[in-house]
Amino acid sequence: MSFLLEVIISLFLLLGALFALVGSLGLTRLQDFFMRLHGPTKATTLGVGGMIIGSIIYFSAGDNALSMHELLIALFLFITAPVSAHIVGKAALHRQIACEERTRNIPWQQNGDD
């Protein structure tokens, strides 16, 4: 495997890992549930995507044959991640989980005003 290829793979891997970490950090440090929801939904998914690209390159180069099936994982994740986020968010909404006060248009408070 050429050095260049290794660098490219490494980049994808590290980038992916970084995104994954950022997503998880978001989950850890953001202040309310709805804000935390953003981190993993996107950053982590993208992070996995990056690593999957790294893997595709790695195996395709290693076996000298295109190895695309990891792509399927990414596909699955991209299909499911927003739905997961939606349904968890819906649950949080239903439970009226405390939001940061500065959040605008909090639905149940509006409903209370109506």
Binding site: I79, I87, H94
Partner: protein, 945 residues
Amino acid sequence: MTLLSIILLPLAGALLPLFTERFGRTLCAYSAAFGPLCALGILLGSASSVFSGHTEHVFFAWLPEIGLNLSLRLDGLGLMFALLIVGIGLLVVLYARYYLSERDSLGKLYALLQLFMMAMLGIVLSNNLLLMIVFWEITSLVSFLLIGYWSHQSDARKGARMALAVTGAGGLCFLAGALLIERIAGSFELDAIFAAAEQIKAHANYPVILVLVLLGAFTKSAQFPFQFWLPHAMSAPTPVSAYLHSATMVKAGVFLLARMHPALAGTDGWFYLVTFTGMATLLFGAYNALFKHDLKGLLAYSTISHLGLITMLLGFSTDLAVVAAIFHIINHATFKASLFMAAGIIDHETGTRDMRKINGMWKYMPHTALLAMVAALAMAGVPLLNGFLSKEMFFSEALHLESMGMFSWIFPLMATLAGIFSVAYSVRFIHDVFFNGEPIDLPKYPPHEPPRYMVVPVEILVGLCLLVGILPNLTIAPFLEAASRAVLGHEMPDYHIAIWHGFNLPLIMSFVALAGGLLMYKQRSGLFAFYERKFRHDEKILFESRVQFSVRVAQMFTDFIQNNSLQRYMALLIGSAVVAIGYALLPNMQWMGPLSVTELEPVSLLAAIILAVGALGTVLLHHNRFAALLLMSVVGLVVSLIFVRYSAPDLALTQISVEVVTIVLLMLALYFLPQMTPNESGAKRVGRDILLASAAGLGMGLITFAMLTTPYETISDFYLANSVSGGGGANVVNVILVDFRGFDTLGEITVLAIAAVGIYAMLNGLHLPLPQADGDGRLWDKEPHPPILSVMARILLPLAILVSVFIFLRGHNAPGGGFIAGLVTSVALILQYVASGTVWMQQRLRWRYRRVAVSGVLIAVLTGVGSWFFGYPFLTSTFGHFYIPLIGEIELASAMAFDTGVYITVVGATLLILAHLGKLAQTTHSPRPSTSTSFTEAELSKGEN
């Protein structure tokens, strides 16, 4: 063979009366008499041969492996007893015909009596000690039924139970003794035991044997201190008492003493134990008999006393004492049976047995009175009656005994004292019943003579008393001689039965007894007052209360150890395992095997920490059930990562799939359960549990570590070597599952299918309250099926099925296989259930999951059966590579069909479980009110808490 028929005839005869009962009492009686009559004929037929010293043997192997044989002997002792048993039995049959009222089942009584007769005959004819015990215990059992014949009476029930318990316990001791004897003699056959007599007596176990056998004999013969059951057995119908408590059951004990005499007697132990027990019994019985107001009670205590006398004689063990004992056995049987029958007649005619009420019967039933008086005089030992003869012999033997040295005077003294009492109660019987003024408050008045044939048995017996009493040598001598010879094992000593031996010491003792008895009866009022003051305790109440007490203790103890708490049982189970491990490992344990440990990896350490947090979190948060569930999922996830790390992708796949299905399942269930676990364990309890849990963990950790560092050699190389060539697959794990160990997998999917069936059955008719709000009291969301979810779920379905097909097809050569594929399919379908609901699914998927599940198993079975047609064992696989143009080489393996079975079972079972659990709320919603559950309306409206 004829010998065997003596026993078999009454046995067969036992059934006869049950059938003939409906044709009338007389016919019933005839049919009952038939068997014993034949037996009597056979016995008398063989008498001469026995008299001539011949012992007849019959031998059939029953269970020769343990020395139990149907081995019978007819010697003098046996003959004499058998004649007593059959003869008196016949008289009782005749007597009972008239005694028993129309209400009671005569057939049942006859059947039981004959069964009892059979058992008694068995005892006396057995040549095998174990066989004797068989019959011995049968007598205990049947006597239970006979005593309890009038089962509606509390006394009868209690008396029966008491008799059974006491004689049964004795029988068990006897059994133990017999087994010990067999260890020494090497056989249960009496001949062998007699031959080994010296060894037995010299053996270290001899005292134990002696005590055990004597316990058997003493309990049966109502010897002191086991005598208490006998008076209470008087609740039996009088024919039963006449039979069991004069001639048979109680005689079994003294028979045993006589029978075992050659093997066990002749030692100090025998002498002291038997003699003094007999003496105590003799005095105790005689003394108590005097004070009983109940006719049968008097007779019962008198019986005890006479049994004591016989026992005492057998304890003396001198030749003449043995002769006297046997003689008294016969005499007692005749006069006591007739007395019981007479008492029964009086009871029958007056309606009471209370001697304080029954007076002056001489006037009302002179015939019966005469017979009873003669019998009572025989009991008292009046000359010219049989009782006198044997009593004289007893006095004589008591006088001649010098075993006790300077204390030997005690025997004649006690004998005379007993004689005095004996005369006194006999006189009381005669005077109180037949004279003593007019009867008082009789339930039946006026009494009159019984039916003619009811007295016949009494006449015969009393006639025998007289006959033997007057002409002993013409009548009883040969029997006595034969019997004594059998007991002593050698020729008879020179002795002479005569009415008149001259004016000697025994005669003086007899006169002292007579005079003393009369005097005592004269002074009875003072004695009665004394007795009433001192002896008011009732053994029956005492016995019952003791039994009650032990039952209560047993209940308290059982309730204490079995408190019906799963928590304790679980702790015991786990504790047992901990003890097992600790016991094995703690002594001289090398904590580590010879292999060195591999290096710690940081990522693995991190993963382990995650797992630890997950596991501990599950425990710490377990009161919040949903949160605990989430944390447990983490554990599952890390476990599947462990599987990945250590080269088990198949396991990881399975673990992760099962994990999710389990979580869904847990949530389905959690919906109907409280959301929080109440805090109900105290600190002590938690401490104990933590201790146990830690111990269990420590144990597991230790064995894991020790195992991991211990080298091993495995059969698995075979699988690696043969997976491709023999099983046609590169994924060895899968080949093991569907081929090498396909039988396991068959069992495993059967488990799954049965679980589905069982769950289906359990859900059937299950009604649970539907929580209207969640754990915090929040009402549920209004939207059952969020549209975004529904849409995406439907898109995922074909994709997921595609994935499952992929996993299935690859399974034989890469991670995957039928089980995982099945789970993926199931999960995809469950997702539809979650997203779109049961109704929606039911419209689209009309499978009957239970059938699907078992069909899968059937397919797997059929695959296995297929190999039979090629002559191979069940589940033999085959595979082949086929070349198809354009496509190339493909492989087809029969294991694939098997795996299909697995797939179908998994899909069917999983969906059955989840879909039916899901439907639960719907069925619960149904209009049927919640009558079948125990929930109150209040709880329903309040929801869960």
